[in-house]
């Protein structure tokens, strides 16, 4: 198992936390929680991502997949991905489902969460 940490520029605040998916073969679960500060009291400008994956050797694929996702869906917060060998397409799909479930919608910088 491998644990990877990333951060990506993001701007939309999630209204609520969200959970989708299961850690089943070829699938993953995604947890997102609002995290509204950058750790120094200022407004967060980055989404924090932790990936735990059963498959080793795909760090660059993760980097690319997540980068593309956050470029299109810049949802802030703490993201946790628990992966059991999902394809990049399924990773993106689950993350989109999670983003939608957070209610971040298309309204940038929603303040509902705070």
């Amino acid at each position: 198992m491998r644990t990877l940490h990333y951060q990506f520029p993001a701007s939309r605040n999630p209204a609520r936390r969200a959970h989708v998916g299961v850690v089943g073969s070829g699938d993953l679960e995604v947890l997102v929680e609002p995290g509204t500060t950058d750790g120094c009291g200022g407004a967060a400008a980055h989404a924090q991502v932790r990936v735990r994956t059963s498959v080793e050797g795909f760090d660059e694929v993760w980097q690319a997949t997540l980068e593309r996702f956050f470029a299109r869906t810049p949802v802030l917060g703490n993201w946790e991905l628990n992966d059991a060998g999902a394809t990049p397409a399924l990773v993106t799909l689950r993350m989109e489902q999670a983003a939608e479930a957070t209610g971040s919608g298309d309204t940038p910088d929603s303040e509902e969460a705070s």
């Binding site: 299961v22 089943g24 059963s54 946790e80 628990n82 992966d83």
Partner: protein
């Protein structure tokens, strides 16, 4: 069409969920079915409760994940694969425990097991306060999660105990929708339920594919799907009275069936399958292991309700050594008959000779104490239980002893102690055993042991040799106190080394290496003793041929354990209170505390 083809057509239509009445088939119903099988654990729970009433407890954001998987390079799941939810069904407050079959095959680990146990205990506590809370258990699992072996095995014992506590107060409804089915230790819990609902896709069996590994493909071919479903499938279980309701895979039908079972309330004492020893005995008497019936014949022989079977008892086998398929009794080294059980029960019952209850179950009564042991019997007609395994007749005999002792002592000032002398290579792995429902027989033994303990009998398990898997669940793991000899030949585990290595895709060497850092995986009894439920590890000079001093040491330890059991709780709650549990079962304790805290939150909304 001829009547025969009509019948075949009707049967096929019913299997698809159509409503068949007279000449007409309502196919509309089929088109509107919503598959329950395709739902995940949370969606299944949601589908069963009244709309909008679901409230998840100890959910993913509590992060009560397994502490044992990450060190084994396995990605954990944030809720450890069990959804606990409260809600109402037909207006009645219920609790649901739904196992996620996609995560680790639904395997029960420390956390997922503790969640189910604590949910059942909280429901029992509410019920005692006058608000009965029925439980609905969605059981899709291969059984104990082998990556958490001994903690999973103990978790199953605790689930069974908590289930029985609640079952007296409110119904516990088991739902086995598929596609994994209910196997391993969890099948025993299924056998304890007030009401079991199953689909044709569902299965209930103690042993799955592992039978083939243990006994060869001629005993049970794990790739033969039609054989598997014929033996352990939903329809067969329903038509032999081992399940109560058969429904097609449709969320609405499952919801209706569950609603009906909730509304029916608790069953009357003595009427549960696992209490009907008369039925168990009568059913087993119809079987001739040397000439076993086909699964389909069993439906006529036993009938579809769990009552006195229509079939007559089979003639006693002409030669007790007979077996139907030559070669099926070959066995691996760990199943070589061991003499330890007989040796220790004989030594401890000084002054009396243990008497055979059956060829394979010995009982010895001394002043104030009864000893029970399962021992090898080379003439056991159930040939898969000849090396000391716990099989159908062993469970029936054990259950009857516990029940009789409890009745005998009902009016005595002090109930006698019962000592389970444990040297069990495992449960019996065999086709006849699965067909007859070994899970149901073990449930009878578990139920009787729990009942004796709750009635006030101090129950002490003394492990003198192997204590593996379903064998230990049947005889030992329901004890108030567990003692084990500190000896290399004492092995306590969910599965023997070779099979566990095979199933977890490891070598035996890798497994032993992991056991050094992950206590629940270890085959070393000294490590097992740190998990929190060992009450004492006993030093003896020889576990194989005990000296007089050895016997004295053990007898004294038993007296101490009996005294502790008399002053301790009647349930298994002390297994979370020991100093070792505080260290190695932190996760179970966190589950207990979180669920207790969340049980009544927002209940006014």
């Amino acid at each position: 069409m001829t009547p025969a083809t009509n019948a075949a057509r009707d049967e096929a239509a019913r299997a698809l969920g159509a409503i068949v009445g007279g000449q007409s088939i309502d196919w509309e119903h089929v088109l509107h079915r919503r598959s329950f099988l395709e739902l995940d654990a949370l969606a299944r729970a949601e589908a069963l409760v009244d709309d909008g009433t679901i409230r998840v407890l100890s959910g993913p954001f509590e992060r009560l994940e397994s502490p044992w998987l990450q060190p084994q390079d396995i990605t954990p799941q944030s809720d450890d694969g069990v959804v606990i939810a409260r809600g109402t069904i037909g207006g009645t407050a219920v609790v649901i425990a739904s196992i996620e079959q996609e995560f680790q095959g639904g395997g029960i680990g420390e956390v997922s097991g503790a969640k189910i146990t604590q949910a059942l205990r909280l429901a029992a506590a509410s019920s005692r306060q006058g608000i009965p809370v029925p439980a609905v258990l969605l059981l899709e699992t291969g059984g104990v999660r082998l990556q958490e072996a001994n903690l999973g095995l103990n978790a199953v014992a605790e689930i069974c105990s908590a289930l029985l506590e609640l079952r007296a107060l409110a119904p516990v409804i088991g739902v086995v929708a598929g596609s994994v089915g209910s196997f391993g230790g969890v099948s025993i819990a299924t056998g304890l339920c007030t009401h079991v609902i199953i689909t044709p896709e569902g299965r209930i069996g103690l042993n799955g594919a592992v039978i083939e590994q243990e006994a060869g493909a001629e005993e049970f071919d794990s790739s033969d799907r039609s054989l598997i479903w014929a033996v352990v499938g939903g329809e067969q279980r329903r038509l032999t009275g081992l399940a109560d309701t058969l429904v097609v895979d449709d969320a609405a039908e499952l919801r209706d069936a569950v609603r009906e079972a909730v509304a029916a309330g608790p069953a009357s004492p003595g009427s549960h399958r696992s209490e009907r020893l008369d039925v168990l005995d009568a059913r087993l008497a119809t079987l001739d292991p040397a000439n076993p019936p086909e699964p389909r014949q069993l439906r006529e022989m036993w009938g579809d309700t769990y009552g006195t079977p229509p079939a007559k008892p089979a003639a006693p086998p002409a030669s007790s050594g007979a077996e139907p398929r030559p070669g099926v009794v070959h066995s691996r080294s760990s199943m070589q008959p061991s003499g330890r059980g007989r040796t220790w029960i004989t030594a401890l019952a000084s002054g009396t000779t243990p008497r055979p209850v059956t060829g394979s179950v010995l009982r010895a009564d001394t002043d104030g104490t009864t000893y029970l042991a399962v021992v090898p019997d080379p003439h056991n007609p159930f040939y898969r239980a000849r090396q000391g395994q716990v099989g159908l007749t062993e469970c029936a005999a054990l259950a009857r002893q516990f029940r009789e002792i409890a009745v005998d002592d009902a009016h005595r000032a002090e109930r006698r102690a019962i000592v389970a002398v444990v040297d069990l290579p495992s449960q019996a792995y065999g086709r006849i055993e699965e067909m007859a429902g070994l899970h149901q027989a073990i449930a009878a033994a578990v139920d009787a042991t729990e009942a004796a303990r709750i009635a006030g009998h101090p129950i002490v398990a003394l492990v003198v040799g192997q204590a593996l898997s379903g064998g230990f669940l049947a005889h030992g793991l329901q004890a108030s106190q567990i003692l084990a000899l500190d000896d290399p030949g004492v092995v306590i585990h969910a599965m023997h080394r070779q099979a566990a290595a095979h199933i977890t895709l490891r070598t035996v060497a890798q497994l032993d290496e992991l056991g050094k850092t992950i206590p629940p995986l270890s085959y070393d009894v000294r490590v097992w003793a740190t998990l929190g439920f060992c009450d004492s590890l006993l030093n003896v000079g020889s576990a194989e041929s005990p000296t007089h001093d050895d016997v004295q040491t053990v007898a004294q330890a038993i007296s101490g354990a009996v005294a502790r059991a008399r002053s301790g709780p009647a349930d298994l709650s002390n297994r979370l209170e020991s100093a070792d549990a505080r260290k190695n079962r932190k996760a179970s304790r966190a589950v207990r505390d979180t669920l207790s805290r969340q049980w009544n939150e927002h209940s006014g909304q």
